[in-house]
Amino acid sequence: MGKFARLGFWLSGLIVLAVIALGCIAPLVPYEPADAVSYDDALVSPSLAHLMGTDEQGRDIAIRLVKGTEAFFLPGLMAAAISIVLGGLTGALTGYATGFFRTAVLGALQLLDTLPRLVFIILVCTIRDPSVMLIAFVAGILFIPTVATVIRRKVESLASEDYILAHIAHGFSPVRVLLHHILWLQCWPILVRQAAFVFGYVLFVETGLSYLGDYGVQEPTPSWGNMVAQVRSLPSDAPWPWLIPAAAIVLTISGFLAFGNLAARRGEEAVR
């Protein structure tokens, strides 16, 4: 790993840490969106009183940015957990099993993979009461095939390695070898990469739908997406109410993806 990649790893790691810290403290910050409205303070530019300025309704952007992490943080973690756990297990199983069972599971995975993700999420939102948790749940399920495929390839390539065969020959149970030696010790870099990716996807869908304004988070509850949506009515000399959340979206998604990739690369170099 080169100097530049190491730098990228630490910078993106810093972004990830910051987002996790914000996501953890956000629920502790008392905030009542309706009370925050103060038309006298509308569109104040960033200053000491309002670090990031205020929006059209005079609400402090810094606080809304922090509270906005609530919209995607837990859903993102949930989606990542669903896809990693279920995808990892089905991937390991299909990489190891043979016969009808394998064919059936592979078929089911291929079926899930065929559904266009965002379109299916919108379909579900049309039919059920839309909420970010529901969106994240569907997204987590829809990412199972992606995770399962990379894990399956890895398990298939490892299953014939001598040391794995040796472990089994030494009398360790195949389940233990599969879960511990293959999934845990060998696949964690892949899982980290996928988890970061799914988290980023949930942030993308949440902010996207909140921006469009029908399924995501509804005003006045803050979301980075509906904060950006103010761009439609803002005067051109006051860009901060949309610019700051937009920059936060870019930094967070790119940061998570970069961290996932670079952490996985470090892990893979260490595993080898």
Binding site: G8, L111, L115, P116, L118, V119, R128, Y211, W242
Partner: protein
């Protein structure tokens, strides 16, 4: 002749597999509808839908039947292209009459964007050559910024362009182009061009494609058989190109689902006359025959793309036929 027969067999099997996938996907879509809480028909129709419309809808979608029988009824109608009638968005019109032209626009946009993306990624890969430490600043920065969601990229883009034009409008009586300000409702070809650019620039599509394309080019160029061909004094270009066709088609097909997702939000942003815009409008108004019809079309296009890619792969790479033979 044998090889042709094997190829036809592979194509047949892929077609059967594709049909099976389509049945499975429509099954999932249908049962998502049936899973609506409470009385399904109330949950999925807009408020104030007249009872006779509800009844017709329930009959169209087999909601008045047992789930499995209902699915068969609905699938039978859908197979004939009858997805019911729009409730609100384009009231009373056949779903496919409204959805097909919009979907054609969306497919055209997605394919064009993906194709341009692949060409640009290939050009960049050829210019940069093998990865080196000097390029890392450039690729790292590109990586970081193209990972942004396409709609955020679109906001930045339109704000910058609008601000630029405003500057000219204010200072020297310059006539703004017909697409100003972005987004507008009037249909202009430029809106499609911008939307395509944002599809390429957002959602990590470009760098993902670039990495794949560069790895594939490098794998073929450094393959031993290319060294052997060079050593015997033959031109390596035909061999290299031929060996790149399959990975390039795979890279294209693999990214279509991603683009078909991004296009929904981008179309809405640029208010394009496409399936993504129609889908969100219909969904917003709970016009669910349209939503279901479009979901089936999106799924179908992904299945067909994979089918085509598989058959082309099998036609070009003899190992593919052997693997599936």
């Amino acid at each position: 002749m044998n090889r042709l027969l094997a190829l036809v067999l592979v194509a047949g099997r892929r077609l059967a597999g594709g049909l099976l996938l389509l049945v499975g996907a429509t099954f999932l879509i249908y049962f998502t509808i049936r899973s609506a809480p409470g009385d399904a028909i109330d949950a999925i129709t807009p408020m104030g839908t007249p009872p006779e419309v509800k009844e017709k809808l329930a009959a169209d979608f087999g909601l008045d039947q047992e789930p499995l029988a209902g699915y068969v009824t609905w699938l039978g109608r859908s197979a004939h292209g009858d997805f019911g009638e729009s409730l609100v968005t384009v009231t009373g019109e056949e779903v496919m009459t409204a959805a097909l032209p919009a979907f054609r626009n969306t497919l055209l946009l997605s394919f064009a964007a993906l194709l341009v993306c692949q060409v640009l990624a290939t050009l960049l890969a050829l210019v940069l050559g093998e990865p080196s430490s000097r390029q890392q600043v450039l690729t790292g920065a590109l990586y970081f910024f193209t990972a942004a969601p396409s709609f955020v990229a679109a906001i930045f883009f339109s704000q910058a362009l609008n601000a630029g034009i405003r500057h000219f409008v204010d200072t020297n009586g310059y006539e703004p182009p017909d697409w100003y300000p972005i987004p507008i409702d009037a249909k202009s070809i430029m809106q499609y061009v911008f939307a395509g650019l944002m599809l390429i620039a957002g959602d990590g599509l470009f760098m993902d494609m670039f990495n794949t394309v560069r790895a594939e080019i490098s794998a073929v160029r450094n393959a031993q058989f290319i060294a052997a061909i060079r050593a015997k004094g033959a031109s390596t270009a035909p061999h290299t190109l031929r060996n790149l066709v399959v990975p390039f088609i795979s890279a294209f097909a693999a990214r279509l689902p991603l683009v078909l997702g991004s296009v929904v939000i981008v179309e809405y942003f640029f208010t394009l006359d496409g399936a993504g815009y129609l889908l969100l409008e219909a969904s917003k108004q709970r016009d669910f025959p349209i939503v279901v019809g479009l979901s089936v079309l999106f799924t179908l296009s992904i299945i067909v793309m994979n089918l085509v890619a598989d058959v082309v792969r099998a036609a070009i790479d003899p190992r593919e036929v052997a693997r599936n033979g």
